[in-house]
Symmetry: none
Subunit: 249 residues, 2 copies
């Protein structure tokens, strides 16, 4: 096997799953871990992916969530997504936001579940289309290059015309006092529209985002019905959040 083929295969895996473990690649391609590690090192140097402890992650996602460079944080996202999936009732109409955690949710939706899903995210849409029983509706609009989601007034207007049972959203920052905040004004406008369109809003949020805030405010905490983290609901880190009118999962 040629080195280039191997490296291309690694890039394909990363593009497909957004993350890979070195051990998985080694087994998949039947080469030693050392070889995979060296390949990943080169690809990292060439800016084709981002090498992290234990594996590699795609560039596109780290750009926005620069904090999240830890591959184990991704397993936390799976934990969150697993909890979220349990909220999905047969036949429900839901919205799924962009971002890695929500993408994980899209992945974990069982094949046999019948759902109608709205989304703004190209990646989520792709993922959902692989499931035969899900009707996928993409909210159109101008596409943001880095997040690969539809943004802008057009998308917001589209959102104003839909009504869903559940919105599953992520956030840049969340604080018990300041609520949900973002770095980007456009994103805030969008998320406001998403929350407005939903009967109930579920926030998916890894614990490292707790007690952080930024410039623009999406909403107060009590606009959120359920907040899901990878922690157990009785964890001390969640103390400050327990007062609010938010269900913790």
């Amino acid at each position: 096997m040629l080195k280039e083929e191997r490296q291309q295969a690694i890039l394909n895996e990363v593009a497909l799953h957004n993350r890979v473990l070195l051990t998985d690649i080694a087994e998949l391609l039947d080469v030693s871990i050392d070889t995979v590690r060296r390949d990943v090192k080169e690809l990292d140097a060439a800016q084709k992916l981002r090498k992290v402890h234990g594996g590699a992650i795609s560039l596109g996602f780290t750009n926005q969530h620069t904090r999240n460079t830890n591959i184990y944080a991704l397993t936390e996202k799976v934990k969150i997504a697993e909890k979220a999936v349990k909220l999905l009732k047969e036949g429900a109409v839901i919205f799924i936001d962009g971002g890695t955690t929500c993408l994980e949710l899209a992945r974990l939706i069982p094949e046999n579940k019948k759902l109608t899903c709205f989304t703004l995210s190209l990646q989520v849409a792709f993922e959902l289309l692989t499931k035969p029983n899900i009707e996928v509706i993409f909210i159109g609009g101008q596409l943001s290059r880095d997040a690969q989601i539809a943004i802008g007034p057009h998308a917001i207007h589209q959102l104003s015309e839909i009504r869903v049972d559940y919105s599953f959203i992520g956030t840049g920052y969340v604080d018990s006092l300041y609520g949900l905040t973002e770095f980007d004004w456009d994103i805030v406008q969008l998320k406001k529209a998403v929350i407005k369109a939903a009967k109930k809003t579920v926030l998916l949020c890894i614990s490292e985002k707790l007690n952080s805030q930024h410039r623009y405010k999406t909403c107060d905490l009590n606009a959120i019905n359920t907040m899901i983290t990878e922690l157990e609901p009785d964890n001390n880190l969640l103390n400050l959040f327990r007062d609010h009118d938010v269900r913790l999962l």
Copy 2:
């Protein structure tokens, strides 16, 4: 065996398999490894392939094209896309349809060209997002699982509210008498809306689709301003189409 023959044989192998091992070539052509190495070195210098440790890979290998469908059909589609790209003026507002030929067009758009592109296709959207100077707007709607494009009344309504300089569309079937036809009723409705939204419509169509028809009609041939095939405009196969009010490229 002549050097030219050998090198052509090497190029053929690369075109066929996207990659070759020097040892395999040496055995196949029954020459020494050194000769093959020298040939490959020359071909690399001539930009006909890329030499790598242990072998050679095709130039496009690292990007996409790894999915190996009919390689000849692909090159035809590239030919068509190359002609289409020349129609793109700086700053134009265009629509790009789904389908492999249109996807090829999206790929071939130069990085530095400033454009505003509407599309219904997830794949085209992804491709366009890789180019920094293109504003991409996705027409939302229900997503078709197989074609991975937005369809249905919502998408059609969105299309009714936009106006573009050029629409680049594909078709299932085209006939000099019956015009453009499709197998699928919904697709026809969509394409009608696309054509309506455009000042000028360009049809991208490989020659094997010429003189074929199906159930539902999208439009007459004269609704199309330009028809691009992989053939030269004076090819006999295009005779029947020359009468109509369509520019052939």
